[in-house]
Amino acid sequence: MSNNIIVEREKGLLELERRIAELREASAAQPLDMSAEIAALEQKYGEILHELFGALSPWEKVHMARHPARPTSLDYVSRFDRFDELHGDRHYRDDPSIVGGFALLHERPVMVIGQQRGRDTRENLRRNFGMPAPEGYRKTSRLARLASHLKLPIVTFVDTKGADPGISSEEHAQSEAIATCLQTFSTARVPIVAAIVGEGGSGGALALAIADHVLMLEHSTYSVASPEGCAAILWSDATKAEEAAARLKLTADDLRRFGVVDEIIAEPVGGAHRNAQDVVRRTLDAVTAALQRLSALPVERLLEERYRKYRRLGEWQAEGLEATGTGE
């Protein structure tokens, strides 16, 4: 049994999917017209789909964001016109949980950097489940500095449970590595677009998400801590994760409202993996539209607006207790 409630729920649909496929095959092989039966089944399928996934709770979105079939960073990068991967932090190691390099997106040269988890156990072990070590964050900073030096806009894909919490990561100054990322993205003299495509877990996600324009997929999540972690910290009870998910305001809608996210990419009913190609296409279109707009700005204005954007988050008016920067 999967730990993922979305995967569990999908199992009921598998039988229906199999039957539709069989009918289609049969229909193609014989002269009999079965289009009515097929249409009926497909309608039923659509109804069930809506019933199951039409309105997802925050907790369901947490599982959707973690869905093993959900498009990963490389699924997006592979749809760029071209990609040449660059490796390493130049000091210690190439961390496979971060992929990055030069790319062409709709003919525009960019630097792309993403967090990469695996699809299966073997790849997950290699990619450390998408949890970057300090070496990964240092590769990120290096590539961002290189992009700034070469005047290439930066595009990032965020998809991580969080930074790696292992011994050697602490020994190698994970805090410093993430802080340096934040500083590098704050000061990079080129447009930056970030897309939260899966799980956006805490500081380890933010390290790649300081951007002039932040996109977020409809069912992605982005939070100060994982719901499990939050529940453990606040109530010493990880089983209250569902409650924490609701309270953390980690959905795209919430974050758009708070001004943390600038634009939401809609997903098909049932999640991005049900029509990955379309989601990826629309995401890349949105990235390009944002880059087009941002590239027109003089660099000093770009940096000033980036500063103000983050400056506003959590800003307070002196006379009142109400925040001024919580969306609108």
Binding site: P165, E170, S175, T180, S186, S202, G203, L313, A323
Partner: protein, 292 residues
């Protein structure tokens, strides 16, 4: 425009804000005059402990210090606070709303602080500085919107005045109850530090016990010089999280200031009793006039 307000009058350790400021060390019963050292077990007369900067007179254990006591121990005299008009509410409407606001209220009363950081201007050994002091007694030193806003204000104002900025970090990380708005303070403070440092200003951070998570991984580890107090626990991930991940107990030394020094992460480890002298020396290198 922020409004200035002096919270400390004289040059001695300020006693003006009431008992609250010695929050955690003070049991509910105000009459308690004794503290027990958690390391060596020595029972210490609280006045002696305070006179020794909250360091155990027997074994040197560093108790967690309140922001007010810290300022009194480091600043020469007056501390002019900024940003104190900015206080927290409950931006997420943390469901059972009362609980978070009640916690804030309780911590305010117990600590005498309005938030987890106290920011302002002072002199240290005669050198004018922007001074920020976090206090673990207020929501575990977690960084919420107000924490980030105050630190950002401090850095912006220090940049305007062209004075060094000294921040004492003490934090359990980002504050859960303020969600992503808390996490975004990492971005905000980092951007402010970057602007401050771009103009060749001096940024000095003192890591005190404990400094972890979002505070460690943002402005704290951006500093020009990073000093840590003896035995302070400093890291990104919490000890429990790591132990659960690797399924084994970590050595005691792990994530201590001394461990970080060996790993090259920080510049120096200093005993609290020598901290002011050290800061004065360090500030002297950039504030020193050219020899004639």
């Amino acid at each position: 425009m922020p409004e200035w307000r002096s919270i400390l009058g004289g040059s001695s350790r300020a006693e003006s804000r009431g008992e609250g400021r010695r929050a955690k060390e003070t049991p509910a019963n105000d009459a308690a005059l004794w503290s027990k050292c958690p390391k060596c077990g020595e029972v210490l007369y609280r006045r002696d402990l305070a006179a020794n900067l909250d360091v155990c007179t027997r074994c040197g254990y560093h108790f967690r210090m309140s922001a007010y006591d810290r300022i009194a121990s480091i600043a020469d005299g007056d501390f002019v606070e900024i940003g104190d008009e900015i206080v927290s509410s409950d931006p997420l409407g943390w469901s059972d709303k009362k609980s978070y606001e009640a916690k804030l209220k309780g911590d305010r009363e117990r600590s005498g602080l309005s938030e987890s950081v106290l920011c302002g201007f002072a002199t240290i050994g005669g050198f004018p500085v922007a001074l920020g002091v976090m206090d673990f007694h207020f929501r575990g030193g977690t960084m919420g919107r107000v924490t980030g806003e105050r630190i950002t204000l401090l850095l912006e104002e220090a940049r305007r005045r062209k004075v060094p900025c000294v921040i004492f970090a003490a934090s359990g990380g980002a504050r859960m109850e303020e969600g992503m708005l808390a996490l975004m303070q990492m971005a905000k403070t980092t951007a402010a530090v970057s602007r401050f440092m771009e103009e060749d200003n001096f940024f000095l951070v003192v890591l005190t016990d404990p400094t972890t998570g979002g505070v460690a991984a943002s402005f704290a580890f951006q500093a020009d010089v990073i000093v840590a107090e003896s035995k302070a626990v400093v890291g990104f991930a919490g000890r429990r999280v790591i132990e659960q991940t690797i399924r084994q107990r970590l050595p005691d030394q792990f994530q201590t200031a001394e461990f970080l020094l060996e790993k090259g992460a920080i510049d120096m480890v200093v005993d609290r009793r020598k901290l002011k002298d050290t800061l004065v020396r360090l500030l002297g290198y950039t504030c020193h006039p050219e020899p004639t």
